[in-house]
């Protein structure tokens, strides 16, 4: 453990700090305090000899960090260093970090067993969080504006008329326009006496704080200034494009027609909206000192920005058709922030001169700009802060979360909070429970993305498609959603709020009643037993499936177990992880364990994949496993050994044709031989099944079945493959509905063939938990389902209401005429109304 020495002029002060660290961090820190001179060391001062001895007393090979207060404490500590032998000198560092904050940061690192360099770096960066919070340190904004002199410039002075001044959006338009001309233009706010700045950096122009009515001087240095002047004039005249399209008023009005959000995960949530982008991340604290380190950080930053821009452009490309002009311009502004030369220079300076790591430097600079905007008087300008935050986060998540966007706060939110995000990722959904997030509002997003599935599993209310309300969400105090209906209220009036809160209560208690009943097997009204299993990916999920009344675990997703691993887990680690996860399932059997299903949108760090143009049509599922034969063998061995402890059956993901099943069988038989020879407890054969999620597997089902013990229809992927519509796309929502007649036809064919051959077929897609879908699926002959835990009670309740006799024949007569998903849904609703009456 790195030793710590605290030096203060005042002995009691040093001792008090030491006491603080021992109490807050760890009582067993290698820590010693010195200070004071004269008799009983009661006088203020420091003594180099005492410091030297103190260093010796905590010295080890790991090194020692010395923290001091000021002045002579530093001189004495330096002197003390000189008295050490050369070998020790190399392992003792003095730090300029503040005594208390630096001491805390250093103690935490030391206690974790970090190296001297890390401990020292942590101490150095220890003021950042405080500075971030107090916001009193400017982010290196230039004190004086650079005023480059332009030769022979034409001057144009003109008053700006935009009601919100020259904020980001019009500034973007201005810069874009001017960049089309040769030469340079300087802008100066004559009214506020700010500038001049070159019209090339968005943030420079924004800093001029040009408001409505301000007199602005443009100095144009160009071989042909006339057209430049003309365009500036006309830009100012039509208010940089804002004239035609008045800016939406900043006061939020409740107008449900504006947004067309959709349901993602049931439940009502009420709370304060928080944009994911405004959440403060836990930043890495290491400092960069040496030239190569600095270079590396700068490069890291560069590639993170480049990646973020690329991703950003892809997103805009996808959104293009659905964006209105003002929205497009907001994205333009964000795009410029990414590439702003002034911002980049400032961040690089933070790295080079202030030794911040790339993430910290980026955060400090960007959040500085965001804060500047937040402090603006104009509420419209204030909302623009979000643009900086969004850009900040996009790059940060690449610098910190390795691109997973998992940079989230450490502490749960104190008040009920609704998270606003572009799309609910699995990480976000998972973290939301830990962070006590009441609900999620996706600006885009779909309903079958993995994040959405998780949200349902976790009982986390969520809606999607709220982009049109983004602006108003940003300035709202309170929002409410009804995840079952996909409704959104922004700053709802008290009566609406009261009603929502009432509904929330009722839903909760209804849920509790259903939970009780759910422990029993479900039977339709006409006495047909239906199996309802639970989908799970962890011990928690299994527990939750059990409390919700799962009859078995119909799908255990292996990938969640491996998600956070950076290195490939060996056989033992896998076995241990599975055993731990399946522990709560010891007496609900069987558990259907799906082989590791990665690729597509669920990449794993230790199974790197080449970039694919279309990962969903790429090397995923069984394809990826077979492409990594060494890992695949280890994985299967672990599963065969797991079968010794639990009643499991194995499910192969992404099967396309028979040969793949045969290959897996062959490998399993071979591994069984190996394990038997080595006398390792295991079990083979165990029931082997295949996911039916490619159209090919569905069409070839008659060939597959002879080699299988069961099949499981994965309606989520099957739907996207049949309808050629990406899972997460908000625009293709209509094609993400598994009740589409094309999907139903395929499911029906599979279930019929399976029943003929006496092979069990179940549905493990989300569709089964949809109240409108359930009667249809039952009518088609499905008797086995596995759904997300939270949906089980409602589903069992629903089953108990259904009268199966009759549905099948009605369905058979109508089915040929269904043209789209909505036809099926309408049929289902009619069915219900009839049976209710």
């Amino acid at each position: 453990m790195v030793g710590l020495v605290l030096v203060s002029h005042s002995r009691p002060l040093a001792q008090a700090v030491g006491d603080l660290l021992r109490r807050l961090v760890d009582a067993n820190l290698q820590l010693t305090c010195c200070g004071g001179v004269g008799e009983d060391r009661a006088e203020l001062g420091t003594d180099a000899i005492e410091i030297q001895e103190a260093i010796g007393s905590v010295y080890s090979e790991d090194g020692v960090l010395v923290l001091m207060d000021m002045g002579s404490a530093i001189l004495s500590a330096e002197t003390a260093l000189e008295f050490l032998n050369p070998e020790q000198q190399g392992k003792v560092r003095l730090t300029s970090a503040p005594l208390v904050e630096g001491g805390m940061a250093a103690a935490v690192q030391a206690q974790l067993g970090a190296s001297l360099v890390s401990v020292a770096n942590a101490a150095l960066a220890s003021l950042l969080p405080k500075q971030d919070q107090v916001q009193d340190v400017s982010t290196g904004a230039p004190a004086a504006y650079p005023a480059p002199a332009l030769a022979q410039s034409e001057i144009l002075e003109i008053n700006i008329r935009n009601p919100h001044g020259l904020h980001l959006r019009p500034a973007t338009v201005l810069i874009k326009t001017l960049s089309g001309f040769p030469g340079e233009v300087l802008i100066e706010n004559r009214t506020a006496n700010r500038g001049p700045v070159l019209a090339q950096s968005l943030v420079d122009v924004a800093r001029l704080q040009i408001r409505e009515g301000d007199l602005v001087r443009f100095s144009i240095s160009s071989p042909d200034p006339k057209p430049v002047i003309e365009s500036i004039r006309s830009l100012v005249e039509n208010q940089f494009g804002e004239l035609a399209q008045p800016v939406p008023p900043s006061e939020a009005v409740v107008d449900l027609n504006v947004s067309e959000p959709f349901s993602v995960s049931r439940g009502i949530a009420i709370g304060r909206p928080i944009l994911l982008d405004t959440i403060v991340h836990s930043l890495p604290t290491y400092a960069v000192e040496s030239a190569p380190e600095v270079k590396r950080e700068v490069e890291k930053l560069g590639s993170a920005i480049a990646e973020a821009i690329a991703e950003f452009d892809r997103r805009i490309e996808r959104l293009k058709g659905s964006l209105d002009r003002p929205e497009e311009e907001i994205f333009d502004a964000q795009r410029m922030i990414f590439a702003d030369p002034t911002i980049l220079k400032e961040v690089q300076k933070q790295i080079q001169e202030h030794h911040l790591n790339a993430a910290a430097a980026w955060h400090k600079t960007l959040s500085g700009y965001a804060t500047d905007q937040e402090n603006a008087e104009d509420p419209y300008l204030r909302a623009r802060a979000a643009d900086f935050r969004e850009v900040e986060r996009t790059v940060l998540s690449r610098l910190i979360g390795g691109g997973t966007g998992s940079a989230l706060p450490d502490q749960p939110f104190a008040e009920p909070t609704l998270l606003i995000c572009e799309e609910l990722t699995p990480t976000l959904a998972e973290q939301s429970r830990r962070l006590s997030i009441a609900g999620v509002i996706q600006l885009g997003g779909g309903i079958t993305s993995h994040g959405a599935i998780l949200a349902r599993a976790l009982g986390l209310p969520a809606i999607g498609g709220a982009r049109k309300s983004r602006e108003r969400l940003l300035s709202a105090q309170q929002v409410a959603i009804n995840g079952s209906k996909g409704s959104l209220w922004i700053d709802p009036p008290p009566d609406v709020l009261a009603e929502l809160a009432g509904r929330q209560q009722i839903e909760l208690s209804e849920g509790q009643a259903a939970l009780l009943k759910s422990q029993e097997r479900a039977m339709t009204r006409d006495g047909i037993p239906i199996q309802v299993g639970g989908n799970a990916g962890s011990a928690d999920d299994i527990l939750s499936a059990r409390t919700n009344g799962a009859d078995f675990i119909g799908l255990f997703r292996s990938e969640f177990l491996f998600q956070d691993l950076h290195h490939e887990p060996d056989e033992h680690q896998q076995l241990t992880a599975y055993r731990r996860a399946l522990e709560p399932a010891a007496d609900v059997s069987p558990v259907t364990v799906r082989l590791l299903d990665v690729g597509g949108d669920k990449p794993l760090e230790f199974l790197p994949q080449a970039k694919e143009a279309n990962p969903f049509l790429g090397v995923r599922g069984i394809r990826l496993l077979r492409a990594n034969p060494r890992f695949f063998r280890v994985h299967l061995r672990a599963l065969l050994r797991l079968a010794h402890f639990f009643r499991i059956q194995l499910l192969i993901p992404m099967i396309t044709e028979v040969s793949e099943i045969l290959a897996v069988r062959e490998l399993l038989t071979e591994l069984d031989g190996d394990l038997t020879k080595a006398n390792v407890p295991h079990r083979w054969p165990v029931p082997l099944g295949a996911m039916i999620e490619t159209p090919s597997a569905a069409l070839m089902i008659d060939q597959l079945l002879p080699h299988l013990d069961f099949v499981s229809i994965g309606t989520n992927d099957l739907t996207q493959y049949i309808l050629c519509a990406e899972r997460g796309s908000a625009q293709l929502m209509a094609f993400s509905d598994s009740l589409h007649p094309a999907v139903l036809r395929m499911c029906e064919a599979v279930i019929r063939t399976a029943q003929e051959r006496g092979v069990k077929a179940s549905i493990c897609g989300e569709i089964a938990s949809d109240p409108e879908a359930l009667p249809i699926l039952l009518g088609l002959g499905h008797r086995d389902f596995s759904v997300t835990a939270g949906a089980i009670p409602a589903m069992k309740a629903m089953i108990r209401k259904v009268n199966l006799s009759g549905i099948a024949s009605q369905l058979a007569s109508k089915q040929p005429f269904f043209e789209e998903a909505s036809d099926v849904r309408k049929f289902s609703r009619d069915l219900f109304e009839r049976s209710e009456n």
Binding site: H9, G36, V37, G38, E43, L44, G45, T46, D47, A48, I49, E50, M70, G71, S72, L75, S76, E78, T79
Partner: protein, 210 residues
């Protein structure tokens, strides 16, 4: 020209201790104006501690003597001046190991070596309102005088006046090092206490080394 003996060196330090004792309150007063009001007390504590060790220090070579002075100052003065004067004597001692006599020129080198140590330690330069403002011109005057063949007596008296001029030059300055730097503008208008104690160091040398 006569050499400086080790007993003379000790007498120099004793004389310095006496002058500090005499000027203790004045120095403290100076430090109170721009620092924390402890410079006199600090220096007095350190030099008295040296006197206690008189028996040990008197019967050694100049190197050991200066080193003893240095270590005592370092561990008892407490303020910046302890580390700095301590470093001064410590560095000086490295040129006097085993020596019982120093030529005036050697003595000059010792002072220079000590000054270099202070600069290295405190990272201050002339004009920062520190002891260096007195120490540097004092040493330069001494060396120049010796180089031009003048006597020890002349050299040391020139050193005292140069240090004195240096001391007065600190009055209008704004402190940029040490505790006084926290005062910023307010430090202007007062002489620097460290520079003042440095003048005493030269003065006691002039009274004892020739």
């Amino acid at each position: 020209m006569s050499n400086i003996s080790s007993s003379q060196i000790f007498t120099w330090i004793e004389r310095y201790a006496a002058q500090i004792a005499e000027q203790k309150d004045y120095l403290t007063q100076l430090d109170a104006a721009i620092g924390d009001g402890d410079h006199g007390a600090n220096m007095h504590r350190g030099l008295q501690a040296i006197l206690v060790k008189k028996a040990d220090l008197q019967n050694t070579d100049i190197g050991a003597l200066l080193k003893g002075v240095a270590m005592t100052l370092i561990s008892t003065v407490g303020g910046a001046s302890g580390a700095l004067y301590g470093t001064f004597f410590l560095q000086a001692s490295t040129l006097a190991g085993g020596k019982t006599e120093l030529s005036p020129r050697e003595f000059g080198s010792l002072l220079e070596k000590g000054l270099a140590g202070i600069v290295l330690r405190g990272k201050a330069a002339v004009g920062d309102k520190t002891m260096i403002d007195a120490l540097q011109p004092g040493i330069k005057a001494y060396k120049d005088s010796i180089e031009s063949g003048e006597t020890m007596e002349q050299a040391l008296s020139k050193a005292v006046s140069a240090a004195d001029v240096g001391l007065s030059s600190t009055t209008p300055l704004i402190a940029r090092k040490g505790r006084a730097s926290y005062l910023g503008e307010r430090s202007a208008g007062h002489p620097d206490p460290g520079a003042s104690s440095t003048v005493l160091l030269f003065r006691s040398a002039a009274e004892t080394l020739c």
